[in-house]
Amino acid sequence: MATDLESIAAPDPAALAARRRRDGRKRRLLKHVVLIMFGFAMLYPLLWMVSSSFKPSDLIFRDVSIIPSEFDFSNYTDGWNALARPFHHYLINSAIIVGFSVVGNLLSCAMAAYAFARLQFRGRRLFFAAMLGTIMLPIHVVIVPQYILFSELDWINTYYPLIVPKFLATDAFFIFLMVQFIRGLPRELDDAARIDGCGHFRIFWRIIMPLCLPALATTAIFTFISVWNDFYSQLIFVTDPDLYTVPVALRTFVDSQGESAWGPLFAMSLVALGPIFGFFLAGQRYLMRGIATTGIK
């Protein structure tokens, strides 16, 4: 009976299917050609930058190829020593800020998220709404009073203005991310632990945190990338050249000797992008999930 129906719908299924397969294969191939060419066009500037970082500066203005004709590391050595301090000085400064920021965000956001997701307390709805409301708040609105506050505290030209807010869960994005995640965990686990006599701190630390590992990883990676790339607040709060971070150092570099030193500039820019690229390769899964759930870049 079923075969009868099919043969009515498509008189010669075998031939049709074969044709469709042939067309499909051609189409798929064409699709891949388009996708690869487009991807190449997207990445071409980056690849060219990598290649140019090995070229002598005058060649950068003449050579559009992405394979350097010779490998010359002098741009890297020149760039490394082009500023008041060797470049690793700025890398270390950035790493300090990033390290503390990651730890701060993980701790403070996870704690807040646990309270929002699992505990009952007065004003919960209101606080939760307030927290969501701050997710999209432009930093430009709060930066001036923050600057005044931090200068009253004598914190300008220290890293406190960049680090302390992270320990106070000011990146509400990540609270939201973790609340969503914790809500997805079965409550029976908490209940069982409570019956066994666990307090909330132990439940948080021993049960919820380990299960939250994926959300924590997403938070850590995104915090790393956003703080490593952050220019605006580092530009404002850090003006002492000794304390410069990588983005601020690069800015000084490009403004002081920019146009004449593209080679070294490219080299140091790539050094600056290196860690991001590393996290991109290592943390794919968490990155994709993070964007798909919260829309952060």
Binding site: F121, P138, H140, V141, P145, D255, S269
Partner: protein, 325 residues
Amino acid sequence: MTTVPTFSRGRAPGEPPPQAAPDPPAPRRNRRSPLAKREGRVAYLFLAPWFIGMVVITIGPILGSLYLSFTEYSLLQPPEWLGLDNYRRMLDDERLHTALRVTFTYVFVSVPLQLALALALAFFLDRGVRGLALYRSIYYLPSLLGGSVAIAILWRQIFGTEGLINQLLGMVGIEGEGWVSHPDHALSTLIVLNVWTFGAPMVIFLAGLRQIPTMYYEAAEVDGAGGFTKFWRITIPLLTPIIFFNLVLQIIGSFQTFTQAFIVSGGTGGPADSTLFYTLYTYQRGFGSFEMGYASALAWVLLVIIAGFTAVNFLAAKRWVHYGD
């Protein structure tokens, strides 16, 4: 009984399914038991860091900048009350008008282009392309890098007079101009940079596309619908919540663009103020000439503009965003 494709659902297998946003109803008790009180106290302990941050780093400064926006304040003397003078000053501030024009052009040209590209690529990739994960990663990479100083430096070179773009144009016999140094073109280079970071919205679109049940397409095929009809009648309507989500997010983000314009123009917003983004102008007033009062007023106007556009977006959404029945 349509399934609403929500952005929070595109999850890897093996993960706990995320629940919908509304809270599970709290057990209502008229008299709070000692246990509930204890839980409340514990909750406040967990929230303490967030609470301090909210008051000291967020709400306090929001109110502070509102107050400062009515004053003149150079950090050296105490703020001096001006009333609405800062806001009146904006009406005659030519550079502010330029900054608004630049920022609006940037937002309203780059965001639609970026989202259109993101949607097209997501649609293209969704149909079971082999190597999807690889393509997705390649297209996504610029989104991670796009906001950095390093990429802005690269942009400054490739769109320079002797930059990469002009070398490429030269190979086909076109003599290009200095894109970043020409007032008519400098903004376009930054628009290109924003469009280049279409990968993040694309990943969100991909997650959304995966939520559309294939049975809709199968049903449409039985009715004889072609690819075009399926795209316009099924894909697009079911994807509207995600288009909306991306639109809101990208508009809010693009209004706050700072780093790229700062680096490409060397902090000036030039040439001829053609890349004087609103945030850059605010920075110049506040941290260049230390007019903290005026800068606060500017920042508040930005907040109102962004909130306004977001509100309009939400209102307009009722007309075109389809949440299923």
